[in-house]
């Protein structure tokens, strides 16, 4: 067999094998596409079936977690607020006992009585203090009356009650027939502010 013939035969074989290879490769690619399309379609079909259930599961599981997360944050915030209010109460108590000179407790008491008298608008008032303050302010009632007259513009008679309250400081004030009561104790004022101060506390403690 001539050399040319051999080359020709080899070329025919090569072309046939190349053609076959191409055909098979195209078929494999097409097969892969068929399967990929089926998988996609299967996924779509599955999602149509499971989507509502998945949504319920997610809502149940992550919803509970979100709730728990909010609770954790809320508890932490409350715990810190509580510490602040406790510390503030302790500081107020020290001010009232005269152990903290940053504020003049005598002046505070004058203002507490004055505020109550202004709001109650009565000519005679009964003042209730705690045991310690009662002793300390027993001799200052007339001075308080003078101060009230000056600021309110009319006479207000103050009577220091024999009964006492057990708050850290401040006053409870009644009118004579006890139809009106004004609670102006330090703890009471602090308690009243708990809700109102949350926004400010949040800003001071956690922002920035």
């Amino acid at each position: 067999m001539s050399k040319e013939m051999e080359l020709m035969l080899a070329e025919i074989r090569r072309r046939a094998e190349e053609e076959a290879k191409k055909i098979l490769s195209k078929a494999k690619k097409e097969a892969e596409e068929i399967i990929a399309r089926a998988e996609e379609e299967a996924k779509r079909a599955q999602m149509t079936v499971v989507k509502p259930e998945v949504s319920i599961i997610r809502k149940r599981v992550t919803g509970a977690a979100s709730l728990r997360a909010r609770e954790i944050i809320m508890r932490t915030r409350e715990e810190i607020f509580s510490k602040i209010f406790e510390a503030a109460k302790e500081r107020l108590s020290k001010i009232a006992r005269g152990e903290d000179q940053s504020h003049d407790y005598r002046e505070i008491m004058m203002e507490l009585v004055e505020e109550a008298a202004r709001k109650m608008n009565e000519k005679e008032l009964i003042v209730v203090m705690n045991e310690r303050d009662r002793k300390a302010f027993k001799g200052k009632i007339r001075e308080m009356e003078r101060r009230l007259k000056k600021s309110l513009g009319y006479d207000v008679k103050l009577r220091l009650s024999d009964e006492t309250h057990d708050d850290i400081g401040g006053v409870i004030i009644y009118n004579v027939d006890k139809t009106k009561t004004f609670y102006n104790t330090l703890s009471g004022r602090l308690l009243k502010l708990h809700e109102r101060l949350r926004y400010k506390l949040n800003k001071i403690l956690f922002e920035g």
Binding site: I23, L24, E30, A42, Q46, I57, S66, R91
Partner: protein
């Protein structure tokens, strides 16, 4: 003689290509069968249950992350607040003693 060999080789070449075409049919037929199987399996209860289980697991992990994130945030809050207690206490005292 050489011409016969050439024809013979041509026939062999045609056979190779035809074999390949037959193989194509087989490959595609297998693929179609597999595709059909995939589709019919897809919506069977077992497959759905498996998906739901896997989705629940995903959701559970996400839930754990949500809680962990809250714990981290909570620690950050504590840390940030620590250095600001005094300002907060002072503000509360001022408010309590702000007498009208």
């Amino acid at each position: 003689m050489e011409l016969r060999t050439l024809f013979e080789e041509e026939r062999k070449a045609i056979r190779i290509v035809e074999e390949a075409k037959k193989e194509v049919e087989k490959i595609l037929s297998e693929a179609r069968k597999k595709a059909k199987r995939i589709l019919s399996e897809a919506t069977k209860r077992e497959s759905i249950t498996a998906i739901l289980k896997s989705e629940e697991e995903k959701a559970r992990k996400e839930a754990e992350e949500i809680v962990e994130e809250a714990k981290r945030k909570s620690e950050e809050m504590r840390e940030r607040a620590k250095g600001r207690y005094e300002d907060a206490i002072r503000m509360v005292i001022e408010e309590v003693l702000r007498i009208e």
